[in-house]
């Protein structure tokens, strides 16, 4: 009985633009038959294609279709599927689209095991653009960009999929219609990344130019290189050369599909205690400051190297200033070294709203430094006569420096190590020192900000560190 494709074809778009003898129409029909077997309605299915002859597949299939960009259909489809996990999403590429420009998305789709039905129609050539070599063009074959015979090694798409942990991998040819429909149906039934490579003929732009004059010769060649997987096992390595096993090559049952995994993950973390994940502290809108008042801007700077807690100290002080009813801004200067690069955190407060968020060079009244590299760079920001607290074990102030600024020495890192037993506590020691010397906020407000902003388990250590910072500062000030 003749099969009726009408319900899933856009008949007004026919005939297709594909050349006589092209395998793409066979694939189109096989997809429709497999969709019917699945009972999928066209209103529920999305088909995404890339660029190349295979890209036109999306024009003819009557469902939600997206003719995307070269090499990216898997990435687009990942967004569609992840947004609507219940809907089947089919992706169609060619060997250029999927194995050259779009290889990365293909492999990551496999790794992620997102439930996409990914079909690569491999015709061994860039057919649409007139015969450039693709990653599957066999060695020695002619291509317009390999005019003396292809010298590049080839990819085996199914090997790649298996290596990248796809949970369903199959191959067929356009000649073996029953097997083609069978593997497509199995791919559609599988939950997870389902990859099917279809070996297909391009008589016009590949066969004809490689001594296969008629489409029939092209098809004979396609037929000869696809070997059923059972017989494949019996072939010698020499006999396997240039041929491919066809059939279902891998099927892993029970592997978690990505969207399911995400949804289970969401359910689990929502049941656990991870807080709200809200990332900005809301502060009760108390009386807004009178913008007409005079500026009483104060400027402070914390410097060290990346990883010393400079960034968090600035954030905490800024929060305490805002809690105190002041406007505050804290800005950052760092280089692109993750750990060990000179870092500077400016903290400003004012009764007026602050615009420019960095300290003005030469106006800083207080700086604290726990690394020599950053001290040397940033010290000139401090106003002559201003206070600089340094860790004397790490920072070297010259005698000129000591004439220019009031330099106080507190071994912050050693205190953190020896008296707290936690190097991370140095930011709270620094805050204790800063508040004790500058009186920029009330100690109890700053302490409250510390307890709210440091990790729960290190609250006691940070409280102790803060108090030690105050003690050391008072002692140094007396001296």
């Amino acid at each position: 009985m003749a099969y009726n494709y009408d319900s899933k074809l856009r008949k007004e778009r026919l005939p297709t633009q594909w050349c006589p003898g092209c395998g793409n129409g066979i694939v189109l029909n096989a997809i429709i038959r497999a969709m019917d077997t699945m009972g999928w309605k066209k209103e529920d299915v999305c088909l995404v294609s890339g660029i190349g002859c295979s890209g036109r597949m999306s024009s003819y299939m009557d469902c939600f279709t997206f003719h995307s960009t070269h090499g990216r259909p898997v990435a687009y489809a990942t967004g569609i599927k992840f947004a609507e996990p219940e809907k089947p999403v089919i992706v169609v590429s060619g060997d250029g689209d999927g194995l050259a420009i779009g290889l990365s998305h293909f492999l990551h789709g496999c790794r992620r095991n997102i439930d996409l039905k990914y079909i690569i129609i491999n015709n061994f050539i860039y057919g649409l653009t007139n015969s450039q070599a693709s990653p599957t063009t066999p060695l020695g074959m002619w291509a317009v960009t390999q005019p003396f015979g292809n010298i590049e090694n080839t990819f085996d798409a199914c090997d790649l999929a298996i290596a990248a942990k796809a949970t369903f991998v199959a191959r067929s040819t356009t000649l073996d219609l029953l097997r083609l429909e069978k593997v497509l149906t199995a791919a559609f039934q599988h939950k997870g990344f389902s990859f099917v490579e279809i070996l297909s003929g391009c008589p016009v732009n590949f066969g004809r130019k490689n001594d296969m004059g008629a489409p029939k010769e092209m098809d004979d060649w396609i037929g000869s290189i696809g070997v059923p997987s059972a017989r494949w096992q019996t072939l010698s390595e020499e006999e396997k050369e240039g041929k491919f096993p066809v059939g279902i090559l891998k099927q892993t049952a029970g592997a978690k599909e990505y969207c399911e995994k995400y949804s289970e993950h969401v359910k689990k973390i929502r049941e656990e205690d991870h807080g709200t994940g809200i990332f900005c502290e809301t502060i009760a809108p108390e009386d807004q400051e009178n913008e007409e008042c005079d500026s009483v801007k104060r400027q402070f700077r914390f410097t060290g190297v990346g990883g010393q807690g400079i960034i968090s100290a600035g954030e905490i002080l800024c929060e305490a200033m805002i809690r105190s009813g002041l406007h505050s801004a804290t800005s950052l200067a760092m280089n692109s070294q993750v750990r060990g690069g000179p870092t500077s955190r400016d903290v400003l407060c004012d009764k007026k709203e602050i615009n420019y968020p960095y300290a003005i060079n030469g106006e800083i009244e207080f700086m604290l430094s726990v690394a020599d590299s950053s001290y040397q760079i940033y010290k000139k920001g401090v106003t002559p006569g201003g206070i600089i607290v340094i860790d004397p074990n790490l920072v070297h102030a010259s005698s000129d420096d000591r004439k220019t600024w009031k330099i106080l020495e507190i071994p912050i890192v050693e205190i953190a190590k020896k008296e707290i037993g936690n190097i991370a506590a140095q930011s709270s020691i620094a805050l204790g020192i800063a508040v004790s010397i500058t009186k920029c906020v009330k100690e109890e407000i700053l302490l409250q900000s510390i307890t709210e902003m440091v990790p729960k388990k290190s609250i006691p250590a940070n409280i102790k560190a803060f108090k030690l910072g105050i003690e050391y500062a008072e002692r140094v000030l007396k001296e």
Partner: protein
């Protein structure tokens, strides 16, 4: 209003949540990464979708794909990532798919100055892809505007069915401060809903000649096709010259005929000013301090600060050009004059210019000195 302590990246993430963004796809890049890491925690906890893709291209593709299903969708990046996303930005323009793209600018070109501030991507944002596209680019100039302009970006994207680029910068991204932002309920009142058409004769591009396509969320209504090729009102490819012309004309007209809904300019102490600073982004913060301080010296300085960079506020720049002599207008940018030429084009005259490309924001005295020089005719 809500009073928060937050930095620009945190506020972009919060605004995305409040504006109803339910899908985020990204790839790590300094200095925009915090937007992504915040949403990686927050979105799963509130049952929204977050995915880190394998590269910059993959992340914009996934975000566009999700938008096709009707989700408000966002991706974020910084300069190098913007270059990588270029082709897909064109795809979203051509296929008329809404999307918010955040670019937190850092020094460029190339790997540039990854942790330092810049306004080097302003021209790129006007023409981020090959072919003719009419981009909408918003530039917050204060920390709190990182919130409000992100919300506006989502609304403009849905209204005009195209990508909207939010150009932030490293200074805004990494400065924490006290901010006042509108309450969630106020934001929700302003949200634009994407148009749909479930009539039996639906065709995605069968719209007026200055209106965007109507793309029903995938899996709702009648199945349809979309493509990055030139297409007719059915959204199937065409190469007929009149239809090709009409398509791009319409995509330009949908923006050009609705400039009042898109343009936004802040004029600060403008009316009684003798000198005008034209700036945008975080440079505005320096300019505000410079203007306020110079006023104490008796120099009446005002600021013209576009929040929508592209399309540029040509009419308002023309008005400003009538009010101020060319020698009294100073354009200040952290690039080599990427907006200067546009301002000069609109005003029809060459203008004094202050430029900086070393990864550091202007200190207010740098701007003040330049204005003083202009005042003394140096």
């Amino acid at each position: 209003m809500r009073k928060l302590k937050a930095n620009g990246n945190e506020l972009i993430a919060l605004a995305a949540e409040d504006a109803g963004c339910t899908f985020f796809a990204g790839y790590p890049i300094t200095p925009s990464s915090e937007v992504m890491s915040i949403l990686s925690k927050r979105f799963p906890l509130i049952e929204r979708k977050f995915i880190q893709m394998e590269d910059e291209i993959g992340s914009i593709c996934a975000a566009i794909g999700a938008s096709l299903t009707g989700k408000r969708s966002m991706t974020n990046t910084s300069g190098p990532g913007m270059s990588l996303k270029a082709e897909q930005i064109g795809q979203a323009h051509m296929a008329e798919i809404p999307l918010v793209i955040v670019n937190v600018m850092r020094g460029g070109p190339a790997t540039g100055l990854p942790t330092r501030t810049s306004q080097g991507d302003v021209l790129q944002s006007r023409a981020p892809t090959h072919g003719d596209v009419k981009t909408i680019v918003l530039a917050p100039s204060t920390t709190s505007e990182c919130y409000t302009e992100t919300v506006r970006a989502f609304n403009l994207a849905e209204r005009f069915m195209q990508p909207v680029i939010l150009l932030s910068d490293e200074t805004l991204a990494h400065t924490s401060r006290d901010v006042l932002i509108p309450d969630l309920s106020e934001i929700q009142k302003t949200l634009v809903t994407r148009r749909v058409n479930y009539l039996s004769d639906y065709q995605p591009c069968d719209v007026k000649d200055d209106e965007p396509a109507i793309l029903n969320p995938f899996f709702t209504g009648k199945p349809y096709h979309i493509t990055g090729l030139f297409h007719d009102k059915t959204d199937f490819p065409t190469e007929k010259p009149d239809l090709c012309q009409q398509l791009i004309d319409r995509q330009f007209r949908k923006v050009d005929n609705h400039l009042r809904d898109i343009e936004k300019v802040e004029k600060y102490r403008y009316d009684d000013a003798d000198y005008l600073i034209v700036c945008y982004g975080s440079v505005y913060l320096s300019a505000r301090d410079a203007a306020d301080t110079l006023r104490k010296e008796g120099l009446h300085v005002g600021i013209f600060c576009p929040k929508t960079l592209w399309p540029s506020p040509v009419k308002r720049l023309e008005d400003a050009s009538k009010k101020f002599d060319a020698s009294n207008i100073l354009v200040v940018e952290m690039n080599k004059g990427q907006y200067l030429r546009e301002v000069e084009r609109a005003m029809g005259k060459r203008l004094p210019f202050l430029s900086k490309v070393n990864g550091r924001l202007f200190e207010p005295p740098e701007i003040m000195n330049k204005i003083r020089e202009m005042h003394h005719g140096v």
